[in-house]
């Protein structure tokens, strides 16, 4: 229990730090019109309907099966659920997913501190 609360606290600290940093950096990039996803280290997602999706600037694959894919990115986890999902291509920069995508969730530490996994 104690361990759990410590972890939560750590997570909250991280989140606070992140949001503080983000405020400054975001203003800075907007001022200079730099590509946001690179400076802020956030994913860039391109979708064509619900069939194809390209996610750039990711960190790694956490979970992959036909109904659910979770991908870790700079600010947190991106969760995709659907049917018959396949990874069409994966390189160190981008990941292309196709299939029948139902939902796309952003499980970011900053707006969901309850989330642990």
């Amino acid at each position: 229990m104690a361990k759990n609360s410590a972890r939560k606290k750590k997570s909250r600290d991280k989140a606070e730090e992140y949001s503080r940093k983000k405020g400054f950096r975001e203003k800075f990039t907007e001022l200079l019109e730099l590509p946001k996803e690179l400076v802020l280290n956030i994913p860039r997602i391109t979708m064509a309907g619900n069939g194809d999706m390209m996610l750039e600037n990711y960190k790694g694959l956490i979970e992959y099966d036909r109904a659910r894919i979770r991908i870790s990115t700079g600010p947190g986890t991106v969760k995709i659920t659907g049917m018959g999902l396949i990874i069409r291509e994966i390189t160190s920069e981008d990941i292309i997913i196709s299939g029948n995508i139902h939902t796309l969730e952003f499980l970011y530490a900053a707006n969901d501190t309850e989330h642990t996994g």
Partner: protein
């Protein structure tokens, strides 16, 4: 879609493998592959903990340590692509030699000129032009690299009087020659030189207007070719023996006639194909012709049709291989009687067309006469006479021809 096809072709050329990965940490396996710049595509979940994916050959050599690290078992399912196909046929030396020979043959054959295409000549004979080009080194069967087209062009331009422009370009195995014929320049007599105006052809004078010189003929006179119409030699008033020479000028309009005839055909032979046909094939390699055996032609009446097919890649790469098919089709002739009125009209029409071809461009047709005559040898004839108005005057130096 097009890009996708191209990508698949590229992958096929480079070769790829389909592998099965199973284990608890397949995601880790994928992550490590991605980080080590091994391209993975079509990653599919087959069942719980089992994935299939595709990767290139270079990547496949690097995955053993990755599999160990991710505690996964990797099995090779299928090898696809050109490198594997080539590897399978590695020992077939004759096959590769044949492929190489084929490429070499194409290259060698395409470095010769196999076809000379001449366009733009109207009066000049194609054979005559071909002969002229051959003399300057452009003919079928010569190496195209040795040909200096600019040199040939300038040589021909100097030699041939009746060509005003020539262009030679070599496309593939074809030499394309375009020519323009020279239109003969009418001899223009300078204004300060005395001349007459004479008739270019026979005719009846309708109108003479002299701007300079004396009218030698009047309205209604019939003139022959070469006859002086406006004289540039003017006798002086006071002395009959002395003349003043001028450059005659003026306009002469004359009536001219053009006549043509055509036989009236009262019976018409109809040619009906019986459906029987003999095909004689022959192959032409370079310049020798190989006739293939065929049935003997026993047909009484037949028509001949020749079809030539030349081996070529695209339009410009023509090879010296030709397949000629001569087909003989049997025909049955039946005579049919044509309505006399129709036959007459058809003959008149034909004669009219022939006559109209003879009328020069600057002449105006004012009257058309059609009449039918009986000829002892040729039977009934339709004769068409076109009456025209045209300028028949041309300058000629006094005393000249």
């Amino acid at each position: 879609m097009k890009l996708l096809l191209l990508l698949r072709l590229w992958n096929y050329l480079r070769g790829y493998v389909i592998i099965i990965v199973d284990g608890f940490f397949t995601e880790k396996f994928i992550n490590i592959c991605a980080h080590r710049n091994i391209l993975l595509w079509d990653v599919k979940v087959q069942s719980d903990r089992t994935l299939t994916m595709r990767m290139d050959i270079k990547g496949f050599r690097l995955i053993r340590p990755i599999a160990r690290k991710a505690k996964c078992r990797v099995r090779l399912l299928k090898k696809t692509g050109m490198p594997f196909v080539l590897n399978r046929y590695r020992r077939r030396k004759a096959f590769f030699a044949g492929a190489l020979l084929f490429i070499a043959l194409i290259y060698v054959l395409s470095s010769f000129i196999w076809n000379v295409e001449i366009t733009g000549n109207k009066k000049l004979e194609t054979a005559q032009l071909e002969e002229m080009l051959a003399r300057n080194g452009i003919k079928t069967g010569i190496l195209k690299f040795g040909v200096d087209t600019d040199n040939v062009v300038s040589k021909i331009m100097l030699d041939a009087e009746d060509i005003s422009w020539i262009s030679i370009t070599i496309h593939g195995t074809k030499a394309k020659v375009q020519v323009r014929e020279r239109i003969p320049v009418p001899e223009i007599i300078p204004m300060d030189e005395p001349c007459d105006i004479v008739a270019t052809k026979d005719g009846m004078i309708k109108n003479v207007v002299a701007k300079e010189g004396i009218e030698a003929v009047g309205q209604g006179d019939t003139v022959r070719k070469g006859q002086v119409l406006i004289a540039g030699k003017i006798p002086l008033k006071d002395d009959e023996k002395r003349f003043k020479l001028v450059h005659a000028m003026g306009k002469i309009t004359a009536r001219t006639w053009y006549e043509e005839e055509s036989p009236v055909i009262l019976t018409e032979t109809e040619r009906l194909k019986t459906g029987k046909q003999i095909n004689a094939h022959s192959l032409i390699l370079f310049s020798w012709k190989i006739d293939l055996p065929h049935r003997k032609n026993n047909f009484g009446n037949f028509s001949i049709n020749e079809d030539r097919k030349r081996l070529s890649i695209g339009e410009d790469l023509v090879f010296p291989v030709e397949w000629v098919t001569v087909s003989y089709r049997e025909e049955k002739l039946t005579e049919a009687v044509v309505n006399e009125e129709d036959a007459k009209n058809a003959a008149a029409e034909a004669a009219y067309k022939k006559a109209l071809e003879k009328v020069p461009e600057n002449a105006k047709v004012v009257n058309t006469n059609i009449y039918y005559v009986k000829d002892e040898q040729r039977g009934q004839l339709a004769r068409v006479t076109l009456e025209c108005l045209e300028d028949i005057g041309v300058s000629r130096k006094i005393g000249g021809n």
